[in-house]
């Protein structure tokens, strides 16, 4: 089979991925594949209780196991001021518990041994005497006046409340509601789920006791930021820390935080003087690392009698677990949730958010989305569905009526976002046409007469991705810019080094294509390197769909910087003035005589061999790009479901996804990203749930209980696209990795509600399982 392609790799070319060759041969290099000479293995002893005071920890039995090198406890870490560490939201988190355990699965002690099996055997022998305390498992419970105090170690913390935060204009919103003809409300819970990349988190920490250099091979979506945080947390000089994020087996936000296991393995390597590997198992991943969502949302929408949205009021209560560790910009306590007005021209909006500690794992990561945008998109799209039902309007019509119009861009939203570009009616129309919406509505009406349940779900999402600008957005104080360094070698081949880090998104191909477009060097000749902090420029990493909006922009800008220099060299070679040199598809020529030209390869060679007088040698450069604004991808998703009245089973018959992510660099990769995002959205809507019993036991601690979509139940997707370039991005791209996870859950749930609303069922919270659907039908006397 021909796997090579004649395409050069310009923007718009679906060239095959450069990174695939190693993966299909089993030659990827993931953290757990790394084995260093003398390497030791670490296992963690975790709390079986959600809330308990530690009375004593005995490690003698563990220490006595042959092969055990060390047992690390919080008391030992406290001697080195490492028992606690800062979180990404400015809180603190226990590295190893010293006083209390605050969630089931919390790290209590670590065993380091010569063999991973021995480390696990010994970890089971650590004896902890606990005094069990009452557990708090919901934020509502947490805020009761007599609730047990979870964070009793924090000075001045007298209850379980974490933050109160507001956005928008309350007075203006109240005014809009006072004038409204109708008010529609919806209380909904976006439950806790977990990103569950197929590879769990891990580290190989190698601290050289002679030089003090720490090389940390880590599952890190943000290696540079992690290096700085390690320097601050561990007190290591930053120049001595090298983080290498090798191939990552999926991230989806799960690999943004710094976890206790990373810190202890590094400390253990430092203390023992040997490399230490820690790779968590799946249960550890599910019960202790970054969860997502867990937002209780109450939305109210003010409407005029003709279906215009006049105002939006939202109150939300977030369950942040035992430590406030959301990965999000400092200023925004509930992430970017205030994008909640979505795709609609809403004159007044007000958001009030409160967060609470509970005895559950910390996290609040942006699971395949920009900080909390998924929750916002879900709420507005579900509310619009409720409004359509209330107003007896078609769900597509009410959206078309309220969309921000193409001529309104750039559009300033009521909560302070400046939307860059959009054409929402067009994306909607493409989706409706592709689905054959009207004829399906007729079919639905006919089926309803026969008592059959069929629903059509609509969701028209708008995302906000690509943070910065740095003046508004940061992670732990680090401004959210990103970087690209491009080195063109004398033979015209290039190396591109980036501050972002792929976890499967195809950066090695996509970013090479940006260089191809800007400089004319074929993508095959551009090697893309990421993830090694010693050998890439500083950047904030890959999450929140920011790689193409920020790192991609940096790549375009550094390419243009080199092109400017290359023009001068070309002028010298062509014996013309700089001002007369034109560039097209890798060729420099004198204006008006394209036959006389020099290729980028000729120019690259001259940059090292034949320069104009006074010019610095080389064709290399670096750019740090601070975006002027975020980008706002959007789209319309349509879902058709059939529901079995006897079992409550929902079958997704069709799904049409029309995405507009601006300019598509590699359409094949873009579609692949959307397929994956839709599948995760499907999983969240119907299957994926991390829940707890009243004692705080996690009931989603393995893949038997935490259900992920397989090939069998995952719908077949029908794709469509529109292209509305971002006006401020150098190549007009907006980012696409997460749109589908943001936009699709509401489309799935709206389809279910559309099928059953005539029976009086207006909401079923996710995951929409058969038993919930059946119970709702049964309550209305409509189950068979």
């Amino acid at each position: 089979m021909a796997v090579e392609t004649p395409l050069k790799g310009n923007i718009g070319d679906s060239i095959r991925r450069k990174e695939d060759d190693r993966f299909i041969r089993g030659r990827g290099n993931y953290v757990d594949d790394i084995a260093l000479p003398g390497m030791l293995h670490m296992a963690i002893h975790r709390s079986p209780f959600a809330h308990a005071r530690i009375k004593s920890i005995k490690t003698e039995a563990a220490q006595a196991v042959p092969g055990v090198v060390a047992v690390v406890t919080g008391a030992l870490l406290a001697q080195h001021k490492l028992a606690w560490m800062p979180t990404l939201s400015g809180d603190t988190q226990a590295v190893l518990a010293t006083d209390k355990v605050r969630f089931q699965g919390q790290e209590v002690a670590c065993v380091v041994a010569t063999d991973p099996y021995v480390a696990r055997d010994a970890a089971a022998l650590v004896e902890v005497d606990y005094e069990v305390l009452p557990a708090v498992v919901t934020p509502q419970q947490a805020l009761e006046p007599d609730a047990p105090l979870i964070r009793d170690e924090k000075d001045g913390q007298t209850n379980n409340h974490i933050y109160h935060w507001e956005a928008g204009d309350k007075a203006k919103t109240d005014e809009a509601f006072a004038k409204a003809d109708r008010v529609v409300s919806l209380d909904t819970f976006y439950p806790r789920c977990h990103p569950s990349p197929l590879e769990t988190c891990g580290i190989v920490a190698d601290v050289n006791s002679a030089t003090g250099h720490a090389t940390l091979y880590m599952t890190s979506q943000a290696p540079h930021a992690h290096r700085t945080l390690f320097a601050i947390v561990a007190g290591l000089p930053e120049q001595n820390i090298r983080i290498i994020s090798p191939d990552i087996g999926g991230g989806f936000g799960n690999k943004v935080p710094i976890y206790p296991g990373y810190v202890v393995a590094t400390a253990a390597s430092l203390l023992i003087g040997k490399p230490v590997k820690w790779v968590e198992d799946r249960s550890e991943n599910l019960i202790s690392t970054g969860f997502a969502r867990d937002f209780h949302m109450s939305g109210e929408m003010a409407l005029s009698n003709d279906g215009r949205i006049l105002g939006l009021r939202v109150k939300l209560l977030s369950d942040n677990g035992a430590f406030y560790a959301d990965a999000q910009p400092t200023k925004f306590r509930a992430g970017l949730f205030h994008i909640v007005t979505g795709s609609y021209d809403v004159a007044a909006a007000h958001v009030e958010a409160d967060g609470a500690y509970t005895n559950k794992a910390p996290g609040g990561v942006a699971y395949r989305c920009s900080f909390r945008v998924t929750e916002a998109s879900y709420l507005i799209e579900r509310l619009v569905e409720s409004a359509a039902l209330e107003m007896k309007m078609d769900p597509a019509d009410i959206r078309l009526k309220n969309f921000i119009k193409p001529e309104q861009f750039p559009y300033m939203s009521a909560t302070g976002f400046e939307y860059d570009s959009g054409d929402y009616p067009r994306a909607m129309q493409v989706a409706l046409d592709k689905l054959g919406y009207q004829s399906l509505r007729q079919e639905q009406a006919e089926k309803r007469k026969k008592g059959e349940l069929m629903g059509i779900g609509v969701a028209s999402f708008t995302e906000v991705v690509g943070a910065g600008p740095g003046k508004h957005y940061d992670i732990a104080g680090l401004r959210m810019f990103d970087s690209a360094e491009l080195r063109v070698h004398p033979t015209g081949k290039a190396i591109l080094k980036l501050g972002v880090k792929s976890q499967g998104q195809g950066h090695e191909t996509t970013f090479a294509q940006i260089v191809t477009e800007e400089l004319g060097i074929p993508a095959a000749d551009v090697e893309v390197q990421e993830g090694d902090t010693d050998n890439t420029p500083y950047g904030l990493g890959t999450y929140a769909s920011r790689s193409t909006p920020v790192g991609g922009a940096a790549t375009a800008m550094v390419s243009r910087k080199l092109r400017d220099k290359a023009k001068k060299i070309a002028a010298h070679l062509l014996e013309a003035s700089d001002a007369d040199i034109e560039f097209d598809q890798g060729k420099f020529f004198v204006r008006g005589s394209p036959s006389k030209s020099k290729t980028i390869q000729d120019v690259a060679f001259a940059a090292y061999t034949n320069l104009p007088d006074g010019m610095e040698a080389g064709l290399e450069g670096v750019t740090y790009y601070d975006p002027p604004n975020m980008t706002f991808p959007f789209g319309t998703y349509l879902v058709v479901v059939d529901i079995d009245r006897g079992t409550g089973q929902v079958k997704v018959r069709r799904m049409v996804a029309v995405d507009d992510c601006g300019v598509r660099i590699n359409p094949m990769i873009v579609e692949g990203q959307i397929h994956g995002g839709l599948t995760e959205g499907f999983g969240i809507a119907f299957m994926q749930l991390i829940t707890f019993d009243e004692e705080g036991n996690c009931l989603g601690s393995n893949f038997t209980d935490y259900l992920l979509p397989t090939s069998w139940e995952t719908p077949r997707f029908e794709m469509g696209e529109t292209v509305t370039p971002s006006p401020h991005h150098p190549i007009g791209a907006k980012g696409v990795g997460e749109s589908a996870t943001v936009g699709s859950p509401a489309a799935f749930v709206n389809a279910v509600i559309d099928a059953v609303a005539h029976l009086g069922i207006t909401n079923i919270d996710m995951p929409v399982t058969s038993d919930k659907v059946w119970a709702a039908l049964h309550e209305k006397g409509a189950a068979e």
Partner: protein, 171 residues
């Protein structure tokens, strides 16, 4: 620690002899003892299929089989697929159809697909989806994996037809 036991396993055609603990999982034998790290571990509980290898040609989740159970058997891992440096049609098809993103599930997916194609050289979409339902992918949404398996099936059929046609022409 329990007493080690000698085993001989033929891995990718090579006879490998080792003394292993009876509790050693086959996946750890492959990854740690033999350093064949193309076989991955995703869940430890037989759900995700990242650790799938072929034992006597049958897909097996090697996180739930002991190395001692493989004693005397033939095991095939992803490292054996590109014989002599030429990609197996399934490898070529996964690349061509964009059937992988992070690459973590890919070795298991490809080995399960190969077993399917041996049993059903001309599978329907449904056959493929059913066969792969024990292998979880978090990145691709399976659309392009299904395409890749179909495309590999077509390639393998065409390749199988060539020698037959040549033989027919000779006779």
């Amino acid at each position: 620690m329990s007493v080690s036991q000698p085993i001989t396993v033929t891995v990718n055609g090579d006879r490998k002899t080792a003394e292993v603990e009876p509790r050693l999982l086959l996946v750890h034998f492959l990854r740690e003892t033999l350093r064949l790290t193309g076989t991955h571990i995703g869940c430890d509980t037989t759900h995700c299929g990242a650790c799938t290898v072929l034992v006597e040609g049958v897909p097996v989740k090697s996180c739930t089989m002991l190395a001692v159970q493989a004693d005397g058997q033939q095991v095939t891992t992803v490292e054996a697929l590109a014989a002599g440096g030429t990609l197996h049609p399934i490898q070529a098809a996964f690349k061509q159809e964009h059937g992988l993103q992070c690459g973590f599930c890919t070795p298991g997916m490809m080995l399960t697909s190969i077993a399917l194609l041996q049993e059903k050289p001309d599978p329907t979409d449904e056959d493929i989806r059913w066969a792969l339902s024990g292998n979880i992918c978090r990145c691709t949404g399976y659309m392009n994996i299904v395409k890749a398996v179909k495309s590999a099936a077509a390639q393998m059929k065409a390749a199988a037809a060539v020698p037959a046609a040549t033989a027919a022409a000779r006779s």
